[in-house]
Amino acid sequence: MTARRFVVLLSLVTTLAAAPASGVGEPSHVDMLVGATARSGGALAIHYDFARPVLVTPSVSDSGVTRYTTTQPGFTAVDPQSQTGPGLEPIRDGVPIRVEATAVEADASFKVGTITLDAPGKSAPLGTAPNLHVHGEWRLVLPDGVLAARRISLRLTTTAAGYRPSSEYTFVLTNDPAFSIPTTTTTLPTARDQPLAGTRLALATGKAKTALQLIARDAGLSLDQGDDPRRDGATLRLTLQGPTPSDVRFALPPARWRALPRGRGFRFVGTAASEPVRSLRVQAGRGLVLRAEGSALPLVPPTPPDAIALVLEIGTRRWCLVFSDLARFRPSRRLVAAATPAPSSCPPP
């Protein structure tokens, strides 16, 4: 074949190969998505279905002991170009990410590269955003024939400025294909849970007290026939997740509740000084408005929280909101959370 003919052929080949392919693109895989709660900062976070156990399979058996392993799931950074995990923002380019074991049950371990995380405090580099893609080896070592489940809790850390460690995530490793994580530990929504979209949350700490204002305009809020706080009262739970966590619950006694006109909902009015919730309006088709103040409320933390969750419980019914993006933050003084969509599920009770 002459050189010219080969060039012509190569050109034709290139043209043919450049023609649109007839197939479809691959779907996103089953890995954990690694991102942050805010653009260019915030807390590191993982999006994954933690209610799904990590199934390990036999690898090597010797002397009555079997090693079970798997490489799924791996870690993949949220793609800044095309992909966003629910509630996750891409991590800034060049940010190094590590994974650290915070709790490891006996028989379980996680090998990342050359490092085996088999005790709390051990950590290994995962890589650097945005090209972070790591599959480790999830491992269980059990006597032959034993079916079991063991837990490993991990968190993500970085030395980069502007980012905070993630919350702790717990993985359940099992060699039992029939194993399922007990529902009491999952965050899957139940029929009685209603996640709501949040409009604004402000928390301010003064010299003597903290004030909270929350507005959730969500037309989807529904009240059923039996949802009447005048009968058994209600409970309000406020949780701050992050480096300075807090978790407080307030009882809202039945005597303080009043029905809104035309059966649209209920209103709580706190009158005693010991009642931090000053007013709470729950209105079907409109949403929820809360005002609270007092020393019983959590203080604004010195570092930004990963998320602020609020759960209102009336009987067996729960309404919840989770704010993860901060619009403003002044350490130990004031924070304002931006509007947030309804979470996929409510936090566990």
Partner: protein
Amino acid sequence: MPCVSIVRPLIMLLLSVALPRSAGAHHVVDFVVTSTEPAGGQLLVSYDFTTAVPLSFNFALGETSIYSGTNPGFDTADGDEFFPGTSIPYPIFPPGIPIHVVLVDNDGGRASMKINGVTLAQPGDSALVGTSGALPPGDLHRHPEWQLAVQGPPGTFSEARIAFKVSTTHPEYRDSPVYILTLTNGHLPPPEFAADGLDRASTRCQATAGKAAHAYANQVLSALRRCLDAVQIHRAQQTAGLDPSRAFAVAERRCVGAVDLLARGEAKAAALLRKRCGPDGSADFDDAVIQQHLGLVRCRSEQLIAATYFRARTYLSRFALAGRPLHERFPCVHQTAGEEEGPS
């Protein structure tokens, strides 16, 4: 043009193995499973097979040390990816193509791979990687566990090759060529630099690693060169009908002496590395990793000598140490093709 149907797959085939992968996305470390044609042809695995896959110690099984790793994995191309160094896009599979991996050879059982819960440990073993277009976890993105079984305690350097191909039951596609991947335990892991200021301990460790590898490689090359140069003089004297006995004695002394010389050189390099990189230094490498790496340095140097001196292995086998042929002390001085033919 009929030639196109021949040339295009040929080019694809060459591209799939000849060029290193371009950077970007997670395919940097993964195989790209593709084909020579958009909806058929020969299956291909695009990857730089000239690079060895570093594995790290996992566990000991009696007298055997098991090393493992999870890269490279299998994946398919995204729509906007090209064969490395070209503007030729990877053909994308239509949905529903099941891809299997078939083990062709595993270096006498020393190498294996586990994928989707199936361990491929014997030639002919196969497992489903995934199916194009399937939703996870049935998709084509899978990371196997690559395993290297080494006879000896941790610290024993070893490499093994694993040969595999990909296949499918779909009638429009043919099996891929056989690909050979080298698994090794001799690579040093990357140092971990501290974030609170310049990490002098780790930078010194890395510099020492380079220096020690350089010095030890020089020692290996020098010792074997001196040995084989003396052998060449002996051969030349034989050829010329001169008395070769003195030259033989010199060659024997140098070649046998190389064993002890290199043992001391290795110990010195290991001590230096332990000081800078061990628990009292930067704590980047443990003893076993250091020993394995020096084993790699020695092996590569021996390979270079074998390429420089034709029949090096045969010459070494003429001498003995402690009743064993000397070439056994230099396992990476491999036999050269044609070495067994002709006068030595």
